[in-house]
Point group: C2
Chain length 330, copies 2
């Protein structure tokens, strides 16, 4: 009797081991996006606005997920998803970029590959339709990480990146907001209900490669060629297959000083914290104590999703390892 029992126990052990192994062999794919974080009162957003954001985020995340589902790379998924967000006037990136104090457009973007630690970024560009694609070309077609201004535009042009003129970025509503701000002589975008609006995507592909990308029109009414954290590797964007892929959004200056994206990675690497614990500490403790608003989206190598923000809202969407899609704002 005792012997039979032992034998059964062994069988159960083998069975559990087999199940765990089988589960481990299913390589997770997942994708997360953000469309900016900020202080937005729930009641002040109309249902139709909420719906417009949800539909666009769902469209974008679905396209990125399809890339992953077909066995495509996380870099492709990140780039394609961000392009959808850049092409929408809803977000402060690409087509929807806010105006500088001079009434011009200055875009920043960066992308990073978790497998190779290669990265690319452009900053202060005005004629590139999709800065994320230019950033990717910097990563794949140069020895460099960061190109800025006219130089970055010249490079993008040589790579066949779609160039546009100023008119492409014109939006009547934003232009009126700009004129309003100008009249008031307002310098900083600290108005209530003003979201930051940067976009970012992180993805994990079937090969276990993580990637992260971020794109922005920068701070509303910015002056003097101000650049925030979005094109800064380590601040706004970071990816390392061993730990996580991260894209940030928020008050960029604080995100640069605190090296937010890499700080989360460092806590995972050096303190063995989980992605969730590391992100919560950096966003809800460290940054909050400094009065710094914003958030991050992140994915670890197992496909665990973290979306963490210290504001009342962060536009976000994901499709997780189980294939479940969700879009959220508050």
């Amino acid at each position: 009797m005792k012997k039979t029992l032992k034998f059964s126990g062994f069988n159960i052990f083998i069975f559990i081991t087999f199940c765990l192994q089988a589960q481990a062999d299913i390589k997770p794919i997942a994708i997360v996006l953000h469309g900016g974080a900020g202080q937005i009162a729930r009641e002040q957003m109309t249902d139709s606005t909420k719906k417009a954001y949800s539909i666009k985020m769902e469209e974008a995340i679905t396209i990125g997920y399809a890339v992953l589902k077909e066995g495509g790379s996380s870099l492709d998924a990140v780039e394609k998803t961000i392009r959808i967000l850049e092409d929408s006037p809803l977000f402060n990136a690409g087509k929807g970029a806010v105006y500088t104090a001079d009434g011009t457009i200055e875009l920043d973007a960066s992308i990073m590959c978790g497998q190779t630690l290669k990265a690319g970024a452009v900053a202060g560009v005005s004629r590139i339709k999709n800065p994320i694609s230019a950033a990717r070309k910097v990563m794949t077609h140069t020895e460099h990480v960061m190109l800025i201004g006219r130089g970055a535009e010249s490079f993008a042009h040589t790579q066949g990146i779609e160039m546009v003129d100023e008119e492409y970025f014109f939006d009547e509503k934003r232009w009126q907001q700009y004129l309003n701000k100008k009249e008031k002589g307002q310098l900083f975008p600290n108005e209530e209900n003003e979201k930051f609006g940067t976009v970012g995507v992180v993805a994990l592909d079937i090969k276990g490669n993580l990637a992260a990308g971020t794109s922005t029109g920068g701070m509303n009414f910015k002056k003097y060629g101000r650049v925030g954290d979005s094109p800064i590797i380590g601040a706004g964007t970071y990816a390392d297959n061993r730990y996580a892929a991260i894209s940030a959004t928020g008050h960029g200056e604080f995100f640069i000083r605190n090296v937010v994206a890499y700080d989360i990675i460092a806590l995972m690497a050096y303190k063995k914290w989980t992605l969730k614990k590391a992100a919560q500490y950096v966003i809800n403790d460290k940054l909050k104590k400094q009065g710094a608003e914003g958030g991050i989206i992140a994915l670890d190598k197992k496909g665990n999703i973290v979306m963490c923000f210290n504001t009342s809202a962060m536009f976000r969407a994901y499709i997780n390892a189980k294939g479940e899609l969700k879009t959220e704002i508050f």
Copy 2:
């Protein structure tokens, strides 16, 4: 007898405690500079060249140290010392900046205050005599961290920063090197005996405040508005009173991807490593394995100096807590 012995032991304990306390009360001041790292064969550098570098580094470090000695701030010491190096044609920063592929000058600089974690940076500027002073104005006179290109120049101009025209940067020898390179169609500065030449300073003042700054002309023959690690907070420059002040020099792209300056801080903060251990790991292990050349200078809150490089040479000088001055190249 036994009682007397016990009493003596206690006296000795009190005396040692007193001495340690007295020593702890002497607040250390110290300053370190680098003038770039690279592969330079010792025998290929003439004695007169060595002497010229040593004299200029000694002049610069002495001026910075005098600021600290008079009770001035580490930020003042860093800025003043870097200005001397920027004004010298010997280093690839300010006056001595290398040419871009277009035969123009594009300068980058950053500075960070270890007490407040405030930081300032400029990138891609062509008309500012001392980019480190412009970076400091960004830190102290704006809400921002990074300004680029013409915008950064306009801001600097409003702050009374000295502006110069192209001619100021002209140097016959460097121009000939540029024409040579152009003729050969050489794109990347991987020639033997080519030093990187960025300059950087870290300082600790009597109040225990650390500061770090870095200034560069960037990569020789660079194209398309390329920006390296020097103006990137976290990569080329970082300072935090609790840990250390760091300035890096080397192959900037690797320094950005590895977030070098902040990585050293993170190892100190999260793994409780000493500055020396953290710096050696990042420069001589992590970067070396990637084939990334360069080095860092650093100071911790106790005034411990670390100068670490994986190349054959790094131009460097320091005045330590004992007031000892040393300049070295190899």
